[in-house]
Amino acid sequence: MAGIYIHVPFCRQACHYCSFHFSTSLRLKEEMMSAMLIEMQQVENKPSMIDTIYFGGGTPSILSIEEIKLLMDQIYRHYEVSGDVEVTLEANPEDLSEDYVKGLRDLGVNRLSIGIQSFLEDDLQYMNRAHSAEQSLQAIEYALSGGIRDVSLDLMFGLIGSDQSAWRASLEQIIDLSPTHISCYNLTVEEQTAFAHWREKGQLQEVDENIQYEQYLMTHELLSSAGYDHYEISNYAKPGHRSRHNQSYWNSQPYIGIGPSAHSFNGERRSWNVANNAKYLKQIKEGQERESELLSPSDRYNEYIMLGLRTAKGIAKSQIDEFPKKMRESFDAVSARLLGQGVLKSSGDTIYLSPEQWYISDAISAELFWDAD
């Protein structure tokens, strides 16, 4: 079982918080299409079965149905694809029309992930999103009524425009819409974004951390009682509707990444394309090697800890036993302390963080990490 990720590196405009790789110029789009088609074919040691396909970005919905068809066809031509493959496409509201959704459905896209971010006009402007709140509602309606099995909506909290009651209202609104899947991201100021730049200059208005934490807890409570299962820090699903593709990242399953900045993982080695459109094109044209790293036992151990502590699945003690003795011992010692402090929880074979504690999962991961030097 393996997944394919296709990175579509174009956006209409740059959102102020976004650190993903994309270009706002569509000049290289044609060339990019060809290069990605070539790359799909070129992949060595193709996995025996593709279980999930994911169009991410950037903004995949910038592509026409025809272009997406070319990519899908190429996947089917060169890979063995499972009968119940999950095919996700990330879309921005301004791109969704009735026809477009229908076209996607006909291509086999059965999961649509829509970047709503906020129902408030002020928030959208503050983030420099390319759509209005009204467009979002329209897009959601097309998606929900368009025969697509799974619809996931992205929201963001920790925004300066939404106080507690506004955020509660957004949550109630999204519960009413009843998508099968919801991602709620806490705004993070990433390096090399407009927000980071303003923060450096002391010009970024920010929401108090305690308020953000309350919003996080509110999200957990409201969505849980509406029947959504909080299965990863930022992800909620109705039973049976988790993102299979994203879970494969967290379970260290293999995946193939196509397109600039996309990462692949074969169980031992992670490799990635350059995060630059022109360089990527050159890389494909000249058949250059991608960058990669072979994961050492300590890399794999640290990733297992880091990813396990972000999910409801947690860390399996039986899995820890597969790692070298020194890591096992360090895990036992540090986890015993954190269990004693009530930070970690355990149940049977599993050691995990409760959703309330996911909010400090980075700090806990770092404590449990193995320091190779």
Partner: protein, 599 residues
């Protein structure tokens, strides 16, 4: 001997000593232009970076005078910080003359005066130089008057110079011959040589720098160090140019080095006298003192497993820095470590930095303290170098703390602020003298404990840098001291304990709690910080639990980067010490004392 001149340079920090020395070396072609790095004499990395001279060094130059003769110059460089004043005094004792360097826009400073007095005490011939005259802000007339007031010379005696442009360098070089007397000793007398500095070389062991007063020294002689009584063979002797130049014989008047195979600096004491074992001199050269540490602090490895490595590193540091003393101690909070004695706070910081740079040892330094005399009711006398050693109040008769005489030179407009500062520090004004209308000298009687920590920084800030400061220990006096404990989540942290004067305990306790609140990173749980005297809590602060430390998105393309970021975060934690349940950053122990304005 008639053609030797031994001299040093007396200058306040930044008045241009290193730069001027560079010019002299260049003009005498001791160093070719090509080898000239700026500040050739400062060869420890830290010295170059901090722009100060920590250890003194010496260098020999040859100068062809207008009288046609070539003279040998021994320039003895001296450290420029109060922490190292004993070394300065020994360097001065090795000279017949001194260049008194005064920045033409800054004027005379405290450091200049205290070293000048030392030089005058040793009968050195003073050549006054007004330096940096190339600067627009130079006030030649006014500063010349200051110098004249200070040493009673004639105006014509003052050489106007600039180490930067080279003005006056020739005048300085010829004045050294004309004004500084040649050394007087007698080569036929028994050997008597003053050790004014020593250096450690990892290949060659300890190298002693000496000035021969009387007699001769030959390669291979059995030499005796008078104060330690030890005898060694002079395996190699020579003179100091930019590199060591071996010689077979050195005579009275000259400056040189000797290598004996001694591996530890402790065995060679600055200020000691070298003589011949077979034909010893009658008496040692006067002025020898065992250097006494002024400030004590615990030094602990971050990881207890590194204790033996730390011992090793300290021993190696002591090889070339005999003023560092240490002995093992244990702390409940920090485990095994060492109680170390330093000449002052700068010395402490330098040692900490050298441990890190030269030995890759990251250490924790506990709250420093001075050395107290305690007398018990049974009339035992104890020397208290660490708060933990202070006897219980019920057993204690009295405690005495060390006092100093501080000398501060400043502009009259800052007198008020300085008085306030010194009063707050339990000081008493002894004397106030106007050196000129624009320059006043204040002397204070102060407890040493009050000036070792943040005094100098605060003095600089309240005077906008227009104050210079120097001090000398005076005596010990009875004092009302209490032991102030710091608790983190209820656990007493001995490494943060301190001895403070009772009248200052409350405010000090509050300040420390406040400072710790800034220094400790938030953790998964709330942290209570308390200051206590005995069972009584006198101050408290709390640090709220860490709320947010999370990455919202972690998908396929984020994993590697995210893992690396957290690995870095992990390394940061390694620099912290777990005390009870609380992680304390390495730096917190020292930083906690930088209390700011009402400390």
């Amino acid at each position: 001997m008639k053609k030797i001149r031994n001299f040093c340079v007396i200058a306040h920090i930044d008045h241009g000593k290193s730069t001027l020395s560079d010019r002299l070396l260049e003009r005498t072609q001791t160093i070719s232009q090509r080898d000239m790095k700026n500040q050739a004499l400062d060869d420890m990395d830290i010295e170059r970076e901090r722009g100060i001279t920590i250890k003194s060094h010496a260098i020999q130059m040859y100068y062809k005078h207008t009288d046609g003769e070539t003279y040998t110059y021994n320039l003895i460089d001296t450290p420029g910080h109060v922490d190292f004043s004993y070394e300065v005094s020994r360097s001065i004792a090795a000279c017949e003359g001194a260049l008194l360097l005064v920045d033409a826009s800054q004027g005379v400073q405290a450091q200049t005066i205290s070293n000048l007095y030392l030089a005058i005490e040793h009968d050195l011939e003073i050549i006054p130089i007004l330096n940096k005259v190339d600067m627009e802000s130079a006030m030649v007339e006014e500063m010349s008057d200051q110098i004249i007031d200070l040493i009673g010379c004639d105006k014509e005696d003052i050489i106007l110079a600039s180490g930067k442009t080279g003005i006056g360098i020739e005048d300085i070089l010829s004045a050294i011959v004309d004004r500084i007397p040649a050394p007087k000793g007698d080569p036929k007398e028994p050997l008597q040589a003053l050790i004014f500095d020593s250096m450690f070389n990892s290949f060659r062991g300890v190298i002693a720098y000496f000035r021969i007063i009387n007699g001769v020294i030959n390669k291979g002689d059995d030499i005796r160090f008078v104060n330690t009584g030890k005898v060694y063979s002079a395996d190699e002797i020579g003179i100091l140019q930019l590199n060591q130049v071996p010689k077979n014989r050195l005579e009275a008047g000259n400056v040189g080095y000797v290598i004996t195979g001694i591996k530890e600096s402790k065995e060679i004491k600055v200020g000691d006298t070298i003589t011949q074992d077979k034909n010893p001199c009658q008496s040692a050269i006067q002025g020898f003192e065992e250097v006494k540490p002024m400030v004590f602090a615990g030094i602990y490895p971050i990881d207890n497993d590194d204790f033996e490595d730390l011992r090793d590193s300290l021993e190696k540091l002591q090889l070339n820095d005999a003023s560092l003393v240490f002995e093992p101690e244990t702390s409940i909070a920090l485990g095994f470590g060492f109680r170390c004695g330093f000449l002052g706070m700068l010395h402490l910081e330098i040692i900490q930095e050298r441990l890190s740079r030269e030995f890759d040892q990251e250490v924790i330094t506990t709250v420093p303290n001075v050395s107290y005399n305690a007398y018990t009711k049974r009339d035992e006398h104890l020397i208290i170098n660490t708060p933990a050693d202070l006897p219980e109040p019920t057993l204690l008769d009295r405690v005495e703390e060390p006092y100093i005489k501080a000398q501060i030179i400043t502009k009259p407009e800052y007198i008020g602020a300085i008085m306030t500062l010194c009063m707050e520090k339990r000081g008493e004004l002894l004397n106030q003298t106007y050196l000129t209308t624009e320059r006043v000298e204040l002397s204070f009687d102060l407890p040493l404990a009050e000036i070792v920590f943040d005094f100098y920084d605060r003095l600089k800030s309240i005077t906008r840098g227009y104050a210079s400061f120097d001090y000398a220990p005076t005596d010990y006096r009875a004092s009302d001291l209490v032991k102030l404990d710091i608790k983190l989540n209820g656990d007493s942290v001995d490494a943060l304990s301190s001895l403070v004067h009772r009248t200052k305990a409350d405010s000090f306790g509050r300040q420390i709690c406040k400072r710790l609140k800034e220094l400790l990173p938030r953790q998964q749980f709330m942290i209570a910080i308390q200051a206590a005297i005995g069972a009584k809590i006198i101050a408290r602060e709390t640090i709220s639990a860490l709320r947010k430390d999370v990455t919202a998105k972690c998908y396929g393309g984020d994993i590697t980067r995210k893992r690396k970021l957290l690995e870095k975060q992990k390394k940061g934690k390694k620099k912290m010490r777990q005390i009870g349940t609380v992680q304390v950053p390495q730096k917190a122990f020292l930083e906690v004392l930088k209390l700011g304005d009402n400390g």
